[in-house]
């Protein structure tokens, strides 16, 4: 056990060292090795811009836009994916028909259809929500089908032999058997929704964090742009940590 703890501590140290080293190389490249400031701003300047962004609160509006799009997209894809996935999993026939189809569509980079989404839904949040919902729908529906569709038959038979009703079967057998796989699908859906929404904001949008970053790049305000990138990374890492913690907690219960 102790050996295990020490192993974990060492790997944490390596991870932290990697990040520190990265920032150090960045600093040296910007100050000593003569890399153009327009390509790579000084990390100290980035840090002071980041402080300014946080203290002035100018990020709030963009953050609200992006998180609002994310919440709407995830609400749509989670509801649709869970409901449709459950219904499909009730029938062996529909599993065989739709599971390979969804898996095939999942492999397509749906972001290619962004221009189409923009034509349909405009440059505002609606096109980001539609794109994010579409992209994140697939991992959710695929995992929901996999979760409900591949429950050990013996457990179902055993429950039935003891007199389990349909409600009992769902609540005490199907749901606990499927939930680990479904939770993984929800986490993957959430992450892909976040990535595709920020990504599409950088390509075609009027607001949001992705939009802000591209806007600063076009204005050549590199230090501030880097500061926003760091900010978005921090938001993404935090959201991912929260969702992973929720997933782990859901799997324990």
């Amino acid at each position: 056990m102790q050996r295990h703890d020490r192993g974990t501590a060492v790997s944490r140290l390596i991870q932290a060292g990697f990040l520190v080293g990265l920032v150090l190389i960045w600093y040296l490249a910007a100050t000593r090795w003569g890399v153009n400031r327009l390509l790579l701003p000084n990390p100290v300047a980035v840090y002071s811009d980041l402080l300014d962004i946080l203290l002035s609160g100018e990020f709030v509006e963009d953050l609200q836009t992006t998180l609002g799009e994310l919440a709407a997209a995830f609400a749509i894809s989670a509801t649709g994916g869970l409901a449709l996935g459950y219904l499909i999993s009730r029938s062996r026939y529909w599993i065989d028909v739709l599971e390979p189809l969804f898996a095939a569509v999942y492999a397509i980079p749906i972001i290619l259809f962004l221009p189409l989404f923009v034509l349909f839904f405009g440059l505002g949040p609606a096109s980001k929500i539609a794109l994010g919902a579409t992209i994140s729908f697939f991992p959710i529906v695929i995992n929901t089908i996999a979760g409900f569709g591949h429950v050990d038959r013996l457990l179902v038979t055993a429950a039935r032999s003891m007199g389990a009703s349909d409600y009992h079967l769902f609540r005490y057998v199907l749901l606990p058997a499927a939930s680990p796989v479904i939770l993984t699908g929800l986490r993957m859906g959430f992450t892909t929704a976040l990535l595709s929404i920020i990504g599409s904001e950088t390509l075609a949008s009027l607001a949001g964090l992705g939009h802000r970053i591209v806007h600063l790049a076009e204005a050549m305000e590199m230090a501030r742009m880097f500061a926003y990138i760091v900010f978005v990374i921090a938001i993404a890492v935090t959201l991912n940590a929260i969702v992973s913690a929720l997933e782990a907690r859901g799997k324990r219960n």
Binding site: D152, L154, S161, M162
Partner: protein, 275 residues
Amino acid sequence: MAASEAAIKVRGVFHRFGEEGDQRFVRALADTSLEVAEGELLCLIGPSGCGKSTLLNIIGGLMEPSAGGVEVRGQSVRGPLPRDIAFVFQENSLFPWNTVVENIELGMTFQGVAKSERAARAAEALEAVGLKEFAHHYPAQLSGGMRQRAALARALSLKTPILLMDEPFGALDEQTRMILGEDLSVLLARTRKTIVFVTHSLGEAVFLADRVAVFSARPGSIKQVIAVDEPHPRRPEFVTSAKFTSLRNQLYGLLHDEIRKAVHQSTALGASRPV
């Protein structure tokens, strides 16, 4: 009802999987008839794939026979009868996300036992199988033998007059299986349940059964029924007695040809073994 009244009556049961001409078509059971008396322990023994598990599932209402019918305590079987029949399956039929005691209580929830009674009955069942200290373990934390004890406890807690056991010790090693067999004999002598027990172990059949029904190779039907006239609970010394050996040899003689036939079938047809 008189003590000699049959608890289970199987009348001319046929069963097949798939349709005729189909590649997976299998005639599992052909014209099988059988009676099990109240309080009797009947073992079904036969070659792999002879349909003994299929017959058990049909008796328990988990499968519908292609032809023929089953009566349990006077009523004809149309589906599971959770108040009359409890199952113990071969392995891994415990819900892995529940502890042992949760598994037992969940079975009673399914059966409709009042919440106030469940804890006491679960404790009693755990005590009976000697798993009291492991009530709060998860199935994955137990050995195969302990998992089967837990599954037995779950079945016992349902207090059904009939117990159907489908190779409950089939996945265990010989020594564990022997001990569980001895414990089971003691336990069952106390409860006086009617039991049908599927096995492919000759020794287990002779040790546990009041009667042993020997199946023919597929399509399975009952070739002969042998009585084991020995009171319960069976003592470990019974295994080394001349009576045990002679019964075991008799069973071996009956089974040997059928096993040859079954092995020939499965190598000739590419082993499509139904559940």
